[in-house]
């Protein structure tokens, strides 16, 4: 039986969601990401997964304009599901502060003539950042079971709040070992996948997920090395990927970004690779958060 809904319900469901096109042109081109996109960010410890997420958060929650400054944000709201307990509100506030300060200082230097435009004080910036932070909705979960229940309850939240355009889940691999020990891994991943895909398609949301590299790729996989051949080159070797959450999960992800860090001479070099869109990008992490090179 197909469900019917009134036009008003449809509008509430789909209308008014902020578009996130151009969220990060370095990664998703100009016309992406679109509603319904599910992207995964995979990497070892310390490759900047959470930092990259904070970068997306700042971009989405900042407004397009503030006073006469062009901020270039999306003025949207986000749901951040933190199962790794790594989300730091202080860090996010600091990145927001630094970015706005840079913009404010940059503009006033360029337009010296317009003295009448008054420069915002520290206090103004502070309260502006606090207002932006209101657009972040944070949920922390302790177990797969709680995650499943919370995801079900998010539907209400998303329904009530048309500003929500992005859901971030950091990370899907947290409960891997505990679920595996209780023999519930496949069941739980299936449940999580089905509720997430319902949320994303019904409400036209964008979903980003991190996955920690908990399992090492089997290096002695001969068939694999033959298939790759010689010409696969360096990049395939560097950006190794091992799926450990099963086929259901594998097929759920539309694009997978593999992140790595190289350390040379006391300098960390971060980069990110996506096989599906044949793209490799380098980035740095500073007090201003992630910046693409």
């Amino acid at each position: 039986m197909s469900k019917s809904e009134t036009g008003a319900q449809l509008l509430a469901r789909l209308g008014g969601r902020p578009t996130l096109q151009g969220l990060e042109e370095n990664l998703f081109n100009k016309d992406g990401p679109n509603g319904g996109d599910v992207f995964e960010f995979y990497g070892e410890e310390g490759v900047g997964k959470t930092e990259l997420f904070l970068h997306f958060v700042t971009k989405v929650i900042l407004p397009k304009n503030w006073n006469h400054f062009e901020i270039g944000g999306f003025g949207g709201k986000i749901i951040y599901i933190d199962t790794d307990y790594k989300f730091s509100i202080l860090r996010l506030a600091k990145i927001l502060n630094n970015r706005i300060r840079d913009i404010v200082n940059g503009v006033t230097m360029a337009t010296d003539k317009q003295q009448d435009l008054k420069k915002p004080t520290e206090k103004d910036i502070d309260s502006f950042v606090k207002n932006c932070l209101q657009n972040v909705k944070l949920v922390r979960c302790l177990s797969s079971h709680q995650l499943i229940c919370t995801l079900h309850s998010l539907e209400n939240q998303v329904c009530e709040c048309p500003g929500i355009g992005l859901i971030l889940l950091d990370s899907i691999s947290t409960f891997y070992w505990t679920d595996k020990a209780s023999n519930m891994l496949d069941y739980n991943i299936n449940q999580i996948k089905s509720i997430l895909s319902k949320l994303v398609t019904d409400y036209n949301l964008v979903l980003f997920i991190t996955k920690a590299a908990l399992v090492k790729k089997k290096t002695k996989d001969l068939s694999n090395s033959f298939a790759m051949g010689d010409k696969s080159g360096k990049s395939d070797e560097m950006y190794q990927y091992a799926e450990f959450l099963g086929n259901t999960w594998h097929s759920f992800i539309q694009k997978r970004f593999i992140m790595i860090k190289e350390v040379s001479q006391n300098q960390s070099k971060f980069s990110l690779h996506c096989k599906q869109s044949k793209l490799t990008k380098k980035f740095t992490i500073s007090d201003n958060g992630v910046q693409f090179l």
């Binding site: 039986m1 469900k3 070892e44 410890e45 310390g46 959470t50 930092e51 749901i79 790794d84 307990y85 790594k86 730091s88 509100i89 202080l90 860090r91 996010l92 506030a93 606090k130 207002n131 932006c132 932070l133 209101q134 657009n135 972040v136 909705k137 944070l138 949920v139 922390r140 302790l142 079971h145 709680q146 499943i148 229940c149 079900h152 309850s153 939240q157 947290t174 409960f175 891997y176 070992w177 505990t178 595996k180 020990a181 209780s182 519930m184 069941y187 739980n188 449940q191 089905s194 509720i195 920690a212 590299a213 908990l214 399992v215 090492k216 350390v263 006391n266 960390s268 992490i285 500073s286």
Partner: protein, 309 residues
């Protein structure tokens, strides 16, 4: 995994549960995963009741949503970090050991892991007047060393040591027990000692995890993940700083890496690796390898604090 039975109430009746059981719906996740309209049609239960049941269960089980502004206000009041008592190390860590984080110190034998723990403990108790829990898995705590650090500064020795609770734990289950005690103490808010806790030290986490990692990979890793979750909850939800020490292993290219493997490597928020130099006795090198505040890797050289000899 909660059984639906737990939620028996005027809303979720025994009768409804029996109907569910016949259809294979036993746990909460079974129930939530179903399309309620289908369930209503199959079992001739009122759709309205099912929706009410779902709402009731979700309210009880899902975690609450908090917005960023409230979170910042919670953090803003109160101390943000605790000094380690070693100036150069504090600079490396951007101030010290942060509240709300799990900080890990890795290093080989006798590079000063415990010394840093004790120094941090001394500063927290004597300078910040806060209480410390010391979870000791390898009998390395020394109260005389703490008093040595205090020196002759005319401080009340009794007061410093009364701010420390020492818990000797020989296996991971005893640590679970201690953490539960801390949590219930913090929840009750009646115990003066617990409500003033700012630092929890686990020295050393590796020695209780090694024994469970052998044999069945899955069970050992599952316990390891659980202890890491408990420590993080303690740090984040109860606003204390958690300091753990870990051993090192050498990698293929001769570098020191934290022990306990890939899964544990994701656990701490901040990690430093200590090493000593054979030519410079007493001097130590600390390398910051994981941090969300400063660029990594970054290293400094320092000397361990001397007490009165």
């Amino acid at each position: 995994m909660a059984l639906l039975k737990v939620f028996i109430s005027s809303l979720i009746t025994e009768k409804a549960l029996q109907v569910f059981e016949e259809k294979g719906i036993r746990t909460v996740t079974d129930f939530l995963g179903r399309d309620l309209e289908e369930v209503a049609q199959e079992n001739a239960l009122p759709f309205k009741d099912l929706v009410a049941m779902k709402r009731h269960i979700l309210v009880k089980l899902s975690s609450s949503i908090r917005n960023g502004r409230e979170l910042l206000q919670c953090v803003d009041s109160g101390i943000v970090y605790l000094s380690t008592g070693i100036k150069r190390l504090d600079d490396l860590l951007n101030g010290g050991i942060y509240i709300g984080e799990v900080t890990e110190i890795c290093g080989g034998i006798a590079v000063g892991k415990t010394q840093i723990c004790l120094s941090c403990l001394y500063y927290t108790t004597a300078v910040k007047q806060a209480n410390v829990i010391y979870i000791d898995t390898s009998c390395s705590f020394s109260s005389t060393r703490v008093l040595e650090l205090a020196g002759k500064k005319n401080q009340n020795e009794e007061e410093i040591l009364s701010r420390v609770k020492h818990c000797a734990c020989s296996d991971i289950f005893e640590i679970f027990q201690v953490i539960e005690e801390i949590r219930s103490g913090l929840d009750k808010k009646s115990d003066v000692f617990y409500s003033n806790i700012k630092l929890v030290i686990v020295d050393c986490i590796a020695s209780v995890i090694y024994p469970i990692l052998g044999g069945n990979q899955i069970d050992g890793h599952s316990l390891m993940v659980q202890i890491s979750q408990k420590l993080k909850i303690l740090a984040v939800d109860y606003s204390v700083a958690v300091l753990v020490t870990n051993n090192v292993v050498s990698s293929d290219d001769g570098k020191w890496l934290p022990s306990l493997g890939r899964t544990w490597s994701h656990v701490p928020h901040t990690r430093i690796i200590l090493s000593s130099d054979n030519h410079q006795p007493g001097q130590r090198k600390a390398t910051l390898v994981k941090s969300s505040r400063s660029s990594v890797p970054n290293n400094i050289k320092f000397y361990l604090p001397q007490g009165i000899t």
